[in-house]
């Protein structure tokens, strides 16, 4: 239902950035937020084929994501499918698509991550604006309501 596009500039060459993104030895070092650890993985994104990663949060919660690397165009881009597994049943959730592109810049290289949910293709993009404004309303709403005081 949502498309995410994230860009980040790095002061290294496109080749260096592409290697850090796709090679397993480096990927395990940065996948997941600070404090998270990769505990088991198939994170080699240099060739097409299945991939997965198990990540543990600082609180000890385990997360699992898996998919298939669908294209590798070194040192420009990779594409892979993505789905979280249910933490209790291990059931694989709805699949989405991720594309990582590396573009050479004047000062180094830029990484563009596009995370696209499959749902979008099925329903069209008509809801996109609605979602954006709703999320803005949500943010405002949540700021006005201190959730820590709510009983759940």
């Amino acid at each position: 239902m949502t498309d995410i596009r994230i860009e980040r500039e790095f002061s290294v060459s496109a080749e260096r950035l592409f290697a850090a993104v796709t090679q397993r030895a480096e990927a395990v070092l940065w996948w997941g937020p600070e404090g998270f650890k990769v505990t088991n993985d198939q994170l080699n994104m240099t060739t097409t084929g299945p991939w997965f990663v198990h990540i543990i949060s600082p609180e000890g919660k385990n997360y699992k994501v898996s998919g298939h690397v669908t294209h590798v165009d070194a040192p420009r881009s990779i594409g892979f499918t993505w789905a979280w597994h249910d933490t209790e049943t291990d059931k694989r959730g709805e699949e989405s698509h991720v594309t990582m592109s590396v573009i050479e810049t004047m000062t180094g290289a830029r990484l563009i991550i596009e995370h696209r949910d499959l749902g979008d293709n099925e329903t069209g993009t008509g809801h996109e604006r609605g979602w954006a404004s709703t999320l803005a309303s949500l943010a405002k709403f949540l700021n006005q309501n201190d959730l820590s005081k709510e009983k759940i």
């Binding site: 239902m1 949502t2 995410i4 994230i6 980040r8 790095f10 002061s11 290294v12 260096r16 950035l17 850090a20 993104v21 480096e26 070092l29 940065w30 996948w31 997941g32 937020p33 600070e34 249910d86 989405s96 990484l111 991550i113 995370h115 609605g130 979602w131 404004s133 709703t134 999320l135 309303s137 949500l138 943010a139 405002k140 709403f141 949540l142 309501n145 959730l147 709510e150 759940i152």
Partner: protein, 109 residues
């Protein structure tokens, strides 16, 4: 997970989506107020409100002869957490990638 899929199913209807948006903007409202400006019969609105209530998106409160409706903050938070998940995941991962790549640029001791 169960709650979220119910919530999205309930919100996939334009009328119900609009009701939730309005309740977020204007706060608690009586059913009569929700009918203003929309071409909908009272029983139809009542059915929509019931769907939203069953999905856990809104609360109903009885005050005298009025039924008042409001958004459930916990439900909204669950939706935000879900939609933000991936953006936060990638942003946080890129912070680490940035730190990792910056490390090798430091001079050797």
């Amino acid at each position: 997970m169960m709650i979220l899929t119910n919530a999205f199913a309930a919100l996939s209807d334009d009328t119900r989506f609009a009701v939730v948006e309005r309740l977020m903007k204007e706060g608690e409202l009586p059913a009569g107020k929700l009918l203003e400006g929309v071409e909908l019969s009272a029983p139809a609105m009542s059915r929509h409100l019931k769907v939203l209530r069953k999905a856990g998106l809104i609360n109903q409160r009885v005050a005298g002869t009025q039924r008042l409706y409001s958004v459930r903050p916990e439900a909204m938070k669950a939706i935000v957490d879900w939609t933000m998940d991936h953006r936060m995941f990638w942003e946080a991962s890129l912070d680490r990638l940035e730190a990792h790549l910056a490390l090798e640029k430091e001079p050797e001791e």
